[in-house]
Symmetry: C2
Subunit: 364 residues, 2 copies
Amino acid sequence: MYFGPPGNTLVIVVSPPPDRPGLPARRVTIADIARAAGVSIAVVSYAVNGRPGVSAATRERVLRIAEEYRWQPSAAARSMHTGPRAVGLVVSTAAGGVSSASSFLDLVTAIQDVFGKHGYALLLKVVESVDAAVATYRTWWAERRFDVMIVTDVLSQDPRVEALRALRAPAVVVGAPAAAQGLTSVHLDDAEAFGRVASYLIGLGHRDVAVVTGQPELHRTQVRVAALARMLKDAGGSLLRMTTDAGPEEAAAATRQLLTSPVPPSVIVYDSDQMALAALDVARRLGVEVPWDLSILAASDSALCRLSTPALTALPSPLRELGTAVGDAVLAVLNGQSATSHVVPVGGLAIRGSTGPLARRTKQ
Amino acid sequence: MYFGPPGNTLVIVVSPPPDRPGLPARRVTIADIARAAGVSIAVVSYAVNGRPGVSAATRERVLRIAEEYRWQPSAAARSMHTGPRAVGLVVSTAAGGVSSASSFLDLVTAIQDVFGKHGYALLLKVVESVDAAVATYRTWWAERRFDVMIVTDVLSQDPRVEALRALRAPAVVVGAPAAAQGLTSVHLDDAEAFGRVASYLIGLGHRDVAVVTGQPELHRTQVRVAALARMLKDAGGSLLRMTTDAGPEEAAAATRQLLTSPVPPSVIVYDSDQMALAALDVARRLGVEVPWDLSILAASDSALCRLSTPALTALPSPLRELGTAVGDAVLAVLNGQSATSHVVPVGGLAIRGSTGPLARRTKQ
């Protein structure tokens, strides 16, 4: 198998390009290394893979030339043995993906910080429906494009989770175990956080609370609403719920409807900072004073919540912590661990000027 | 090469799992198909690749079983011949990536809508510096992870562009040709749009204009500021520039500084909707009335710009159109076309309540 010269002095420089002497004017291939080392392609392959059948001197020469040429075996060639080394993420804009777009990179950064160190890349696709996500899972899995799939914005009966279970594809669901159907799951403790929100509002004397949410199919939304409703019911209050597309325009419309109704709520809770900001403006235009006539609370904090007038009371949005936990879960699944579930605490409610005690001036 | 039975009636069902009869309890491999068809792996390979040496009856049986088993040749096996079929995108949060996070998915959706139809996936990494992006390019290129790299938020002297040129890696730069250094480029026509903004402001009688931008290294920022400055200078006015991290907090701080200076500007132009919203609040707190004391203009429109009080005058942010053009450019590069540059128009300025004629009440 060894066709090169017996010594280790021959180094053939292959067609040096004008600006980078010593490197061919295209991607360096195993054939370039073989030619430069004066050996066959098979010998290069043996040498770099540490397999027997090559002398130590030849191995050393091949490795030195490969180093000089900055050549590495291609991922495609290696993945024949080690798999694609990619983590999949298919974001469905129809499942609340768009509402969380501003925080998307925070989450992705934290997730990949964990598995990126192990040589895994993130394969991303944005699709318009849950069905399109399922179709992507099937194609990618058949083509061995990913090792683990991450599912975000999980629905309570999610066809994506069912599809991944049917495919027997390794997966991590960003959501509660109840929605993960036995797959590994990581979720923020929304039930606990919204229980605290309810206690805080009840303590201020509020009983008529409204919540303006994104799509009702999101499991997370259901958990939040259930936690609020349960506590308010126990305190003799009631929860009114309005659903929107999670965008600021529909949030503004819902707010207008609530505030012009015969019995307007004294508190409105919004899923996101953008929805709450839009609501703050609606209240201002209607002459409804926050927090005297109305308390407003955002379920995910941001710089704009701190900067608005009044500043918005908000729950933290610990996406870094969530992303790190998801990354750890991805690694565990890659290592063949069986399904687990992990809970990330939401953290303390930041109380600011948009919430206050029930003191409606219009009431007698 | 043919070891199976002569007929085509034998179908061996391999270890049916409890819930999906007929499918093995793991990813279906070529070995499963070979066993079920009663032929060798080589025969399956010949049959599915349409190569000679297999009878028509055998080919038909193998294809039917592969279909039943939902088996497809792996991407890894195919990529040995056809390449990785992935488009790379490394977003550097230090290069303005975070400021555009809310619109990131819009851009990505439009880009992949074009090349996704051709079977290409998007390989995404978020990094904290331009140097880390360069390191990722080198590793991914050596490992043949991508076919074309997309560079966003390009700097005027961008080490990422230089690195891709040195690697001779196919690339599309989202930015002006001046920053793309001979690589294929696609950019929004910021020079034209900001020229129109300057004309509009000059027509309203403004001469003292300030601009609050993100990082000054962004080539796009430089183009915008240059277009404003040139027109204002010609009209006998002046442009004051403040740079920030593109977040709402630093935008608010810059606004406070500008409005409390001895000669405050009559107009402030902001890079993003979030920055302009924060500024609107600062003006409100300082008792500076918009648009009577101060005009505010946002360089990227959003629903919140339409919903704020007053609504914000803004330039469109045509990310869908930009993304489609980037996707088309990626396809052209994949097809081996030499470098081109493409300009996407920004579109008409939406004039709303936050801008008006110079009518400062504090002026004599």
